[in-house]
Symmetry: C2
Subunit: 211 residues, 2 copies
DNA sequence: TAGATTGTTAATCGATTAACAATC
DNA sequence: TAGATTGTTAATCGATTAACAATC
């Protein structure tokens, strides 16, 4: 197979497959593209095509070995080793996401993304901890990211601070950012920014309330 | 134009256009597809095609009237009248989203989605209020939704309760649901469910950390 | 009028689905 | 072996882009 950048549409489905594999793991040792697809809400042909981008993981007449495929998908998504994550903006949304993430990391053994540092601009909270995680000042992003080997970040700052925080994270070498601020962040193309803009999503949904 | 269901890809961009229009409103009375597109991160041809699904809003040689287009987009998205929304699951994420939404509704005059009712299963919080909004028991969803004319809902309950809560909302006539629980909810096709699954999103992003 | 920009049609691009030979 | 299911190629579908006549 000639080298080609794999599309985001494909990458989005891999965590879904991972979730299905975890669900069936205790009940069966192999799974067909048929079953994996129907549990993930995807056609069997698309499951096979998605997986084929990365290798030949299945066996004709049998299907895919559940544990083997799980391991392979984890490697592809870089989830085979713990990932260190930061969160910038310890307001009410930031605190809620911190709790959510910490609990998930504690309770769910397959969830390996670990929130290890918080950042804020308010001197009153800098130096304290929340849910057991230290809060640093945003001017320390570069130093702390390097020291703690942080690879991902969640941004929950007000709209007018989001771009600047994005710049600081990018300079520090963070390559993947989940942005909850209601503005898009422009960064070099080697930094992947995913927008989780609640108000945009609600406005879109309003289209479907009919009337 | 023969009738055709408008794709979700188109609907997703409309709130983006709305945001750009609000931003330029004080500075100019009209805008070209060129400028609207570049500010929204979309090609000019696509802007024109998206808008053309709903009518002929522009003027050759001039562009689109900012206020007129804003009004039209609001009507299309049903944002021309206030929308009543509920939130189910008053845990830490639910409370954070409640605050976020209430503040947005208070401070931003173009944000017309109003969170008017909270629901939870815990008798200890039922009957109290949070951020000025009453918390009802989930068995009262049907009654309260009807009485308060609620059209949308946010779901922030644990995974194992999400489907049941979805059922209750659908039975009560809610047609649009934003689901934060880490499971998909199956509902009749006239109910639109958008998934905002944080852990899925983080696992996807991990692909891009390289290494 | 001359210049600008729309709405729309045709061309292109990319993603999904169907089909099937290979093979466990 | 017979049945099942993969990996892959070709066909289809849908979304985006390019081009341009119409017209403000």
């Amino acid at each position: 197979m000639a080298w080609k950048r794999i599309s985001d549409a494909v990458i989005r489905r891999l965590p879904l497959y991972l979730r299905v594999l975890e669900e069936v793991k205790s009940k069966q040792s192999s799974i067909s593209s048929q079953e994996l697809g129907s549990k993930a809400g995807v056609t069997p042909a698309l499951v096979r095509k998605d997986l084929a981008w990365f290798g030949e993981f299945g066996k004709q007449g049998v299907g895919y070995d559940v544990e083997f495929l799980q391991d392979e998908l984890r490697k592809i998504l870089h989830l085979d080793a713990p990932i260190h994550m930061a969160l910038v903006g310890v307001g009410s949304l930031g605190r809620a996401l911190t709790r959510y993430n910490r609990r998930r990391f504690r309770d769910d053994p397959i969830f390996t993304i670990n929130l290890v540092a918080l950042f804020d601009a308010d001197p009153k909270v800098v130096g304290t901890t929340f849910d057991g995680v230290s809060i640093h000042h945003i001017t320390d992003i570069s130093r702390v990211v390097a020291k703690m080997d942080i690879q991902m970040a969640i941004v929950t700052v007000p709209a007018d601070a989001a771009q600047e925080v994005g710049n600081l994270l990018a300079e520090a070498g963070v390559k993947a950012i989940l942005n909850f601020a209601p503005v898009s962040i422009d960064l070099p193309s080697d930094v992947h920014v995913a927008n989780a803009d609640l108000s945009l999503e609600l406005q879109r949904l309003a289209y479907y309330i009919h009337g």
